[in-house]
């Protein structure tokens, strides 16, 4: 799925997969921080965003 989305033009840094156990609180925090930084660097998403008008 990630590869297909990247193929059609969604930046690959926007989509992340991770495997975190409910006991791994620190890993969860680290992953979320990392993702947030990467996505913030890309700026707001303009693709595949439905306009209702």
């Amino acid at each position: 799925m990630g590869n297909l989305l990247e193929h059609v033009g969604i930046e690959k840094e926007r989509l992340h997969f991770s495997w975190i156990s409910s006991a791994e609180a620190t890993k969860f925090v680290d992953v979320v921080k990392e993702i947030t930084e990467k996505v913030r660097a890309l700026g707001p998403n303009k693709k595949l965003k439905k306009q209702y008008n």
Binding site: M1, G2, N3, L4, L5, E6, H7, V8, G9, I10, E11, H16, F17, S18, W19, V31, E34, K47, L48, K49, K50, Q51
Partner: protein, 318 residues
């Protein structure tokens, strides 16, 4: 008349006469030049209507998806790609192998009808095939075309022209093509930047009218209710909104991951000439590169997305 047509009629007649199958699925002549319709021959007279030509590009495996009302065996003519989709149907338990009598048709490629119409320019009134030469006539002119130049793009890069599963064959097997770079078209898109890719697919689907002909022609799309038809919950908008249209194409492609045989029926069916295969091709490439998998080659192998192997690629998990 195509050389296979007589053999096909004789063979189908024989199959029905001897009771090897209750019905034989093939093609009959369409009502306009270059058209062929899928056809169920149910008795001996019907078999005279069967034909074979380079316009039989639709995938007959599609008609095996919901055949519960036929009690006896089903005869079916299968090109290389059709046979691979029959294998996929068997693997996915859509039909049992012993319910089928498969007549393999070694294929030398199907023609791109839209390409012929465009290059010819005028309204075609007659289309005759003489081995590798296509004779196209209109009211005012006649042209002889070389079939090799007018093959469908999936037939150009096809490496499975011979059926992979059959009970009998209509002729000797044909030589398989050797393709240097199977996925050159996908690599071209992969080399683009994100924005270029987005623009490419934007332009590609711009003309889509959401008629779902691609889905209906696809042997893989046999869900009783397709996600685009579902109204509770409504997964995707039903109008002509660009993003809804794209969502349909992306998800349909993804549902075909590791199952698509690149038969080209979707593009064949598209009335707006959208190159729908651009979506599924990427997934075919990934299946091949990650799992060394080509769909529908062996009824004893489970598809890669259906099985777990300890060495499955997992670099995408952070």
């Amino acid at each position: 008349m195509h050389t296979y047509t007589e053999k096909i009629q004789a063979l189908a007649k024989d199959i029905i006469k001897q009771g090897k199958a209750e019905v034989v699925i093939g093609f009959k002549m369409g009502t306009i030049p270059m058209a062929s319709n899928p056809f169920f021959a149910k008795n001996e007279e019907d078999t005279d209507k069967l034909i074979w030509s380079s316009t039989c590009g639709l995938n007959l495996a599609n008609y095996l998806s919901n055949v519960k009302e036929i009690d006896g065996k089903i005869g079916i003519f299968a090109k290389g790609c059709d046979s691979r989709n029959i294998v996929t149907h068997i693997v996915e338990n859509k039909i049992q192998r012993d319910k089928l009598h498969i007549i393999g048709v070694p294929c030398t490629g199907m023609v791109d009808k839209k390409k012929i119409s465009l290059s010819f320019g005028e309204e075609i009134t007659e289309f005759i095939e003489d081995n590798d030469t296509l004779i196209v006539k209109s009211a005012t002119k006649e042209e002889k075309l070389n079939k090799a130049e007018f093959l469908r793009s999936n037939c150009e890069t096809c490496t499975h022209r011979n059926p992979v599963i059959y009970d009998e064959l209509i002729s000797d097997l044909v030589e398989e093509q050797v393709i240097e770079d199977q996925f050159a078209d996908v690599k071209k898109i992969e080399a683009m930047s994100s924005d270029e890719k987005w623009q490419f697919f934007d332009d590609l689907t711009a003309n889509c009218i959401r008629c779902y002909a691609c889905r209906n022609a696809c042997p893989l799309c046999y869900c009783p209710t397709c996600f685009v038809d579902e109204s509770g919950p409504q997964w995707v908008g039903k109008g002509q909104n660009d993003d809804d249209t794209k969502t349909f194409h992306y998800l349909r492609a993804y549902h075909c991951a590791g199952r698509c045989t690149d038969c080209g029926a979707c593009e064949e069916a598209c009335p707006m000439d959208i190159k729908v295969r651009n979506f599924t091709r990427k997934l075919n490439k990934d299946s091949f590169e990650f799992f060394n998998w080509e769909a529908g080659l062996d009824i004893n192998q489970r598809p890669p997305l259906d099985t777990y192997q300890p060495d499955d690629p997992d670099d995408f998990i952070m």
